[in-house]
Each structure stands twice: as C-alpha cells, then as structure tokens.
C-alpha cells in the first residue's frame, strides 16, 4: 500500500502525456490517433469522449424513474379476497413487524440505501473530477485520489445488487399463486425500479476512471 501511495508524484508518466493512448480494456499502448486496439479491437480513446455528459444523463434518468418506483406498489398481495398493496418501504416495514429483521434489513439496504448511496456517489465523483466545477480544485493530497478510486470501485461492484428486489418480486409472484388463500402479483413499481437500476449501472459504466487520476496534475 505504502509503496503504491508513496509513488504519487513526479515519476508517473501517463500514456496521454507521452503522446500515446492506452486501451481501456486490455492495456495495450498505441500511438495517439490509432482508432482501434490491435490486440482486443476495442475503440481507443485517450479519455472517453463526453464521459461526464453521459454520466449526468444516465444519473438523472435513474433518479427520475426511482421516484415512481417508491410511490407505486411493488407487490399486490391478495389474501381471502382482500388486496393489499406494498411499496418498497412498506414491504420492508412489514417484514420488520413479522420479526424478520435480517431480511427487512437486506431489503432496505438493497432497495433504498444502495440506490440512494449510488446516486450520491456517482454525482459526487462526476462533480469532483470535472475541472470546470467549483468542487474540482479541492484536492489536498494524493490519498484523496485513492479514496475516490475506491468509491468508484464500490459503486461499480454494488450497482447490480439492487436488482435483488425485482427478482424477489418475480419469484414471489411465480410461487405464491394459491388461488383463494393467497396470491401475489407484481406491481408497476417493479418496472421503474429495474429501469432505475439499469440507468445507474449505465452511469457508472460511462464514467472513465482515468478522469479521477487526471486531477493529480493539479496537486503539484
């Protein structure tokens, strides 16, 4: 760890500074201006064109569809003729009343904490790496870069796991079709929730991590 962080500084030469372009998928180095990687065939860009615009666009789309996902019901439970509608939060609260605190926590974390945390984290990263924004210049030490990198890795890793709630709804509605006793059907919020997850995943995928490290130049 210390060797990696102690190295921050003068002897780092990036591909861009050397007039080269590195492939983002296989690391192969090419002269600047080469259109495609000779090793893996990926399109070569020194930095992803319009990365931040795409991140903001997907992020806003994700936030917008997250609103109906919380307002409309996720589950429609019919038991002996009476239908109850459960929103995301309502489902978690009900699990808690039944005493399954562990599962309630999983549902709450996967469908509320993680999505909201992701919105905040992606927005923060996109603001902080943008040299045009006011927050952009506030880099005090090299440690911050590693912290931002780790935040990005966490967001990238964790994003897909929000899909859990949609799968739970799918399994429940396939399984619980016991005619009169109990039936569970999916609600419309399942659609907007999965869209929200997909959009935030796309936002994370559009983010070029090399932008995080470009801020290092301002440090010296």
């Amino acid at each position: 760890m210390t060797s990696a962080q102690g190295n921050d500084g003068a002897q780092v030469l990036t591909a861009r500074q050397a007039g080269l372009v590195g492939c983002h998928s296989c690391g192969r180095v090419h002269p600047m201006g080469t259109p495609r990687c000779s090793r893996c065939g990926a399109a070569l860009h020194s930095r992803m064109p319009g990365s931040l615009q795409k991140v903001w666009a997907w992020l806003f789309a994700g936030i917008v569809v997250y609103v109906p996902a919380n307002i409309y019901p996720m589950l429609l439970t019919t038991s002996f003729g009476a239908t109850t509608e459960n929103t995301i939060m309502g489902g978690a609260v009900e699990l808690m009343h039944h005493g399954s605190y562990g599962v309630a926590l999983i549902v709450f974390v996967a469908s509320v904490l993680i999505p909201v945390g992701k919105f905040l984290a992606i927005g923060y990263l996109a603001l902080v790496v943008d040299p045009g924004s006011r927050l952009g210049g506030r880099l005090r030490q090299g440690q911050d870069l590693h912290r931002r990198q780790r935040l990005f890795e966490v967001v990238e890793f964790i994003g897909r796991w929000s899909m859990i709630d949609v799968f739970v709804v799918a399994i429940l509605s396939a399984l619980v079709q016991l005619d009169f006793a109990a039936t569970i059907n999916p609600g419309i919020a399942a659609v907007s929730f999965s869209l929200s997850v997909a959009f935030t995943m796309l936002a994370a995928l559009s983010f070029d991590p090399r932008l995080i490290w470009d801020a290092e130049q301002d440090l010296h």
Binding site: A4, N7, D8, Q11, V12, L13, T14, A15, A18, L20, G22, C23, H24, S25, C26, G27, R28, V29, H30, P31, S38, R39, C40, G41, H98, V103, I106, L145, H146, Q149, G159, R160, W161, M163, I164, D165, V166, F167, V168, A170, I171, L172, S173, A174, L175, V176, L178, A181, A182, P186, A190, V191, S194, A198, M201, P209, R210, I212, W213, D214
Partner: protein
C-alpha cells in the same frame, strides 16, 4: 499458494518520452499510467505503481480451468432452467415453479417488458457469456490457434459481465424464501441446488480469469 505482489515499474528516466516503444509498455486501464510490460510469474500479481489496480495475475493452467468451469456452468444452466425450482404447499394445494415460471411472472400487461429483461438477466446473458468464453478460450486451452472470431467473442463476454446476474437472482431466491416461510410449507427442488452450484462455479471462474493474460494469449495465438 505462494502469492507475491509486485508493483509494476514506471518507465522512469530510462526511456525518454520521445523514444517509448508502445509494445514494451502497458497503460493502466484505470489511471492511464505507463509501466513496463514485464513477464509476471504464475501465482504473482502485478499492480499498477500509481493506483494499485491489479494489472495481471496469471495462474498455472488457468485457461484449462476457465474452460472446464464454463462448460460445467453451461450444463448446470440447462438443468436449472428445466427442473422444478421451488415447491410451495399450503392448505392441500401444491405449487411447483421452475425458473421459467419466475421469468414469466411479469408477463401480464404493462409489466411484459420486464419479462424479457428478467429472462435476459438470469438466463440469456449468462448463457451467452459462458458460450462466448468457451468459444474464445477453448482453442487457447488446447494450444490451438485462436478461433476466427475469438477476439470479438471475448470482448462480448467482457461487455456482458455486469449484466449477467445469476448470482444476484440466487440471493433474491433466499430472500423470497424467508418472506413466504410463514405463509406456507416450502420445498426446494433440484434446480435450486444446480443453480446455486452454477453461481459458485461462475464466481470461481471470474476469480481465475486474468483478463490481460487472456488478451495477450489471444494476440500470440493469432492465425499466421
């Protein structure tokens, strides 16, 4: 296993910026820092000297292992789709559902698009990803030249990685089981266990895979 972690070397002052030979260098995909591309012994890991991202972690016989695991996962997938997955009984009624039933749960009205999405995420994309890994890497494991579209196939497998969500589905099943546990008696079918095994195999496969080594091998085994 003896795992050493070495930090890759910066090209430093030994080569002037004018005289850099691109074929001797790697640019870190995460932070764009240039480093010398030196052979990494099997079992060791090379980290980027700037951001610490693991650049290479080759392992002995990894290609063969990846191909075997991918083939296993494909077979398990077929079993998981067609065998009964879960069984629910309450008040004398029994309801069996397979993986396909879970997919078809959204097939009414406005929710229809979600059926396609769920089918894609838990069945189609994982299968597609496994198949393209097999297609690209089986010739490598056997020591042949690379397949005609091997590079494109492996690129597809890499692009699909975030979207193949079989392991998330299995955790979803666990959550759903707890939710219905109070409501009815539950039985777990053979497909549940095959699917759980599938997830384990897929995770193992992803840890064995060193992407950079795969790309390099694909490049070396180009058809003459």
């Amino acid at each position: 296993m003896n795992q050493t972690t070495s930090t890759a070397q910066a090209p430093g002052d030994r080569v002037g910026p004018g005289g850099l030979d691109p074929s001797l260098l790697i640019a870190c995909p995460t932070c764009d820092a240039l480093q010398l591309d030196r052979p990494v012994p099997a079992g060791a890991r090379a980290r980027c000297h700037r951001c610490g991202t693991i650049l290479m972690a080759p392992r002995e016989g990894a290609m063969t292992r990846i191909v075997m695991l991918a083939a296993t996962a494909l077979v398990l997938m077929v079993a998981a789709v067609f065998f009964p997955f879960l069984e629910l009984s309450a008040g004398g009624m029994v309801r069996r559902s397979s993986l396909l039933d879970a997919v078809l749960a959204f097939s009414s009205g406005l929710l229809l698009p979600l059926t396609f999405a769920v089918a894609a995420l838990i069945i189609v994309l994982p299968v597609l990803r496994l198949a393209s890994i097999l297609y690209a890497l089986a010739p490598m494991a056997l020591g042949w030249h690379r397949a005609r579209h091997g590079v494109a196939a492996f690129r597809l497998a890499e692009a699909l990685r975030p979207w193949a969500m079989a392991e998330i589905f299995i955790v979803g099943v666990a959550v759903a089981l707890v939710k219905v546990a109070g409501l009815a008696r539950l039985g777990i079918g053979p497909a549940f266990w095959t699917f759980a095994a599938l997830v384990l195999v897929t995770v193992l496969n992803d840890t064995y895979m060193c992407r950079l080594t795969v790309w390099k091998t694909l490049e070396e085994r180009r058809r003459p």
